[in-house]
């Protein structure tokens, strides 16, 4: 391909950060689709606007989602991207791959698609970026051969994702990868056949550091936590201090509840465990000396989402603590309860958080049979506008 065709994009080949334009060009060398994509993007850079059409539902047999249909708005000029659909391919939990698997994936994608992909999409899928309607089914079949299934799209449960968890992290209170894989297998129907009012996302983080960014972008976030005391290796703490670690300013003062204190004489870190709110900070700062407790499980937060329509939400505590052991039945039951309530009461395109906002948390809790608890709120209500049930109000 002639460089002069893309003077604007060429500028983005300069600089030290890895260049997506270089990648587009690499793909363009092998694929006419990608070559036309490059040209269309150059046009977008010139016109200051995208050139994709809206609408158009495409898919593969037996599935209701997993493919995002896309058509160029300028098919005459850029025939290679006349049809340019993406396949959302469910990633293995934790984003681990053998090189063998990845190579197989590349081979399939070079054969049936643009040769361009995202590792990964924001939800967690492998995004195979651009193929024709015709190629969708054979591509999917070939993916199946090598063990890759589609993820979610549309009004479905979406592809789950998680942090690295116990596979490589000392803080993990739950086996994030196993929970993710198990739920994914359990909810294949819900993932592949959109039947909800809108999208429903689940993400799993192993501890309150939330490395999966679950609480911001999951309708249901599962976040590991412990409920006994932090394990303190006093020897280890003393070593930090002896090495000049500024314990007071780096840890004690920054504990959100002042749960820690340093006994300089006894060289002991004192923890008032009932004050600890599991923020992780002290453990993060002194991983060699402090560890999460032994009574481990997870909290379930609901309602995290992006701004549209009612505003962005960060997940709300629904269950403060739940033990998580395979087969994760309690968790699965809860997810079913929640999604069924939502499926029944939610309006079209109404996210879970928006439904709860509309009906009120008390009504939602009653609907799914979860008992209220103070962990659900930062503080009780301040307005005197409370409801009473007929049966609560005894009348003479």
């Amino acid at each position: 391909m002639d460089d002069r065709e893309t003077p604007l994009l060429d500028e983005l080949e300069e600089g030290d950060w890895p260049s997506f334009v270089a990648e587009l060009k690499r793909a363009a060398e092998k694929s006419a689709m990608s070559a036309d994509l490059l040209r269309q993007i150059e046009r977008s850079y010139a016109d200051n606007t995208g050139h994709w059409k809206r609408g158009g539902i495409v898919g593969v047999r037996g599935y209701g989602g997993g493919v995002v249909g896309r058509y160029s708005a300028m098919p005459e000029e850029f025939p290679g991207v006349k049809e340019f659909h993406t396949l959302r391919v469910n990633e293995p939990a934790g984003f681990y791959y053998t090189t063998e698997k990845l190579r197989e994936l590349c081979d399939v994608w070079d054969k049936y698609g643009s040769g361009l992909l995202n590792l990964h999409g924001s939800t967690g899928d492998i995004i195979l970026l651009g193929t024709t309607t015709e190629n969708l089914q054979p591509c999917f079949d070939a993916l199946g051969e090598i063990g890759f299934d589609l993820g979610g799209s549309g009004s479905a449960m979406r592809t789950l994702s998680c942090c690295v968890g116990q596979s490589r992290c000392e803080h993990a209170c739950i086996d994030t990868m196993d929970v993710t894989h198990d739920l994914t297998m359990n909810f294949q129907m819900e993932i592949h056949r959109p039947a909800f009012p809108y999208k429903f996302k689940i993400k799993v983080s192993g501890c309150p550091n939330d490395c999966a960014a679950a609480s911001a972008r999951s309708d249901l976030a599962i976040i590991g936590v412990w409920r006994d005391a932090i394990e303190i290796d006093q020897q280890g703490v003393a070593e930090y201090v002896d090495e000049g670690f500024d314990l007071f300013n780096r840890v004690i003062r920054r504990c959100p509840t002042w749960a820690l204190d340093w006994d300089a004489e006894e060289k002991r870190l004192k923890l008032t465990s009932e004050d600890c709110v599991h923020c992780m900070h002290c453990i993060n700062e002194m991983p060699k000396a402090l560890r999460v407790g032994q009574e481990r499980g997870a909290a379930v937060l609901i309602g995290g989402k992006a701004p549209v329509v009612k505003g962005a939400m960060i997940g709300w505590v629904l269950v403060p603590f739940m033990r998580l052991e395979p087969p994760y039945q309690e968790l699965k039951d809860l997810i079913v309860q929640v999604t069924e309530f939502w499926a029944e009461h939610g309006k079209n395109r109404e996210r879970l958080a928006e439904l709860i906002d509309r009906l009120g948390m008390p009504a939602f809790l009653e609907g799914i049979g979860v008992e209220p608890c103070p962990q659900m709120v930062d503080a009780p209500r301040s307005n005197p506008y409370l409801f009473w049930r007929e049966e609560e109000v005894k009348h003479a």
């Binding site: 116990q166 939330d210 780096r250 993060n284």
Partner: protein
């Protein structure tokens, strides 16, 4: 019947032996050099993870290249992070330095670990999304070309800094809780093609799609009308009804948001807040945006205390001073006027004058 619902590859078949053997047994970690994590297991095993920047949008050739490297140094295993970095997993200590050398030789950027700016979480942009106001990949490239020294650790920063870029207010990602978020916005009321509405739009759901109730039915034309004074150009109606067009290359632009976070460390998760309502959409290098982000990073970097994230720093010094120090004008646009606006108004005498 085709085979369906078989699910993703089982992670157990993807993880390297050292991970399988030490699963759930990791004891602690340290950061021996920028971009490298060293996890120590209670078995005594040590796993070195080398983190490398990826443009996320890659070609199969790129993937083959990193596979080749992983074969050479990592027994044929690798992973990606939740922020789209590549992680090479080295169980054989001998291979660490050679891997680092090869990566550097090939021009890969090693970093993003610990107190650093990590990869930018971003969205499709003009590459693939019909709703894109701007190009996410181009913005990321332009911004990170300026900031990569904070990725590689050549220049230190006080704490983790997470940048996100979204091409429209749908914010595919966790933009709304990022230290710095760059978001494409419209500024003009959408145009309605009444003929198309009457044919191809579901009017009630179009009306319901509007966060501010700007849309009313227009029974005469079997269409809808948008009250311009109530519309804040989110484009959600256009997502629901193809007869509505919200794109406008002349007035569309980019906004910048700051101070969000997601970890629960020290402070609870925070939303990103409006810093700069509008900057022009100037591909291919977005000089105004790049400059603004750099300014924000610099101002924070020079003033925050060790370990203090952007939002924590701002809350410590106060938004009053944030606007003063950054030189960003505070306008009526910074004052919320959506549903919960009153809960953001200052109901105390605690402020700086």
């Amino acid at each position: 019947m085709p085979k369906t619902d078989f699910g993703p590859p089982d992670y157990r078949e993807m993880i390297p032996p050292i991970v399988r053997e030490n699963y759930g047994k990791w004891r602690y970690h340290r950061i021996p050099r920028p971009g490298v994590l060293e996890h120590v297991s209670e078995t005594g095993d040590v796993l070195s993870s080398v983190r490398v920047a990826s443009p996320r949008l890659v070609s199969t050739d790129f993937v083959r290249e990193i596979c080749e490297i992983a074969d050479k140094y990592c027994g044929g295993h690798l992973r990606f992070t939740t922020r789209h970095n590549i992680e090479f997993l080295v169980s054989d200590r001998e291979k660490l330095q050679p891997l680092l050398d090869e990566l550097e030789g090939r021009g890969y950027l090693i970093g993003g670990v610990g107190r650093a700016i990590s990869n930018v979480v971003h969205t499709q942009g003009w590459i693939h999304c019909k709703s894109a106001v701007t190009d996410a990949s181009g913005l990321v490239k332009s911004i990170m070309d300026e900031l990569h020294d904070y990725y590689t650790g050549k220049k230190p920063v006080p704490a983790k800094l997470r940048i996100a870029v979204a091409c429209c207010v749908n914010m595919c990602g966790a933009c709304h809780c990022s230290d710095i978020a760059v978001v494409g916005i419209h500024r003009r009321v959408p145009r309605v093609n009444d003929d198309v509405v009457s044919k191809s739009c579901e009017i009630p759901s179009t009306i319901a799609s509007c966060p501010t109730g700007a849309i009313r039915p227009n029974p005469k034309l079997k269409s809808i009308t948008i009250a311009p004074e109530k519309c804040m150009y989110c484009g959600n109606c256009a997502a629901v009804c193809p007869a509505i067009d919200v794109m406008d290359p002349d007035t569309d632009g980019v906004s910048i948001w700051v101070g969000g976070k997601l970890s629960n460390a020290r402070t609870t998760p925070k939303f990103s807040r409006l810093a700069i309502p509008y900057l022009p959409n100037h591909p291919p290098r977005w000089p105004e945006v790049t400059e603004a982000v750099k300014n924000l990073v610099e101002v924070w970097r020079q003033r925050a205390k060790p370990g203090e994230r952007m939002g924590e720093w701002i809350e410590r010094i106060g938004w009053e001073r944030f606007f003063q120090i950054t030189g960003i004008p505070f306008t009526e646009k910074h004052i919320d006027d959506f549903t919960h606006a009153t809960t953001t108004f200052r109901s105390s005498m605690q402020f700086r004058i």
